[in-house]
Symmetry: C2
Subunit: 118 residues, 2 copies
């Protein structure tokens, strides 16, 4: 319910975010619908994966994006980051129990997407 006011180029004010709580689907999509986010979660479904391995799995995604998405997911408690002290350092990412709760509909959606060849 926050509401912010901003001045735009022509000098007038405009109101941002006035009382528009988006519906639940929209909120979910904003978390999971970012570019590569769904794929990242899906590729973590079985076991912890190291950063660069994830990069390879995702082919077209830049390190920057993957890093950014992993941080979002970590902040939301869906992914856990683990540092293994060795030389050189190893870092793995894995789904938390909460993160795993998203696998159900993600898997359904993957099947759906494959079947209908979008």
């Amino acid at each position: 319910m926050k509401s912010t006011v901003k001045t735009v180029s022509n000098g007038r004010k405009k109101v941002i975010d006035a009382c528009h709580e988006p519906c639940a689907i929209e909120k979910g999509m904003r978390l999971i619908g970012g570019k590569w986010t769904g794929s990242i979660i899906y590729h973590l479904k079985d076991e912890p994966v190291r950063f660069n391995d994830l990069c390879r799995m995702l082919g077209g995604a830049s390190k920057k994006m993957i890093d950014q998405r992993l941080k979002e997911l970590e902040a939301k408690g869906m992914v856990k980051r683990t540092v293994i002290a060795q030389r050189p350092v190893a870092v793995t990412y894995q789904l938390t129990p909460f993160g795993q709760t998203a696998l159900g509909f993600l898997e359904d959606m993957r099947k759906w997407s494959e079947q209908h060849d979008l």
Copy 2:
């Protein structure tokens, strides 16, 4: 497997889209993960809805966005547009049978999103 080449600011060439077919989840997300897209499909789940009614249901979304999203969904065969000749004109949108196949995981995801209060 298409591959395009583009000249960027510094004068060098770069290759775009070289052999990176995104995984199925990513493709699905690109279709239903757009802003408002999921919500639109969900609000059409029960019955045909008129354009302006949809706008009201979605609160914060502009006509432009809704129009754009409906066209995407129509192009993909998920939504059917029907014009009812009367004055003033009425236009309704409804899910096609194909569109309905997406309701399963969308509903799951809505529940998930609500439960965990993202």
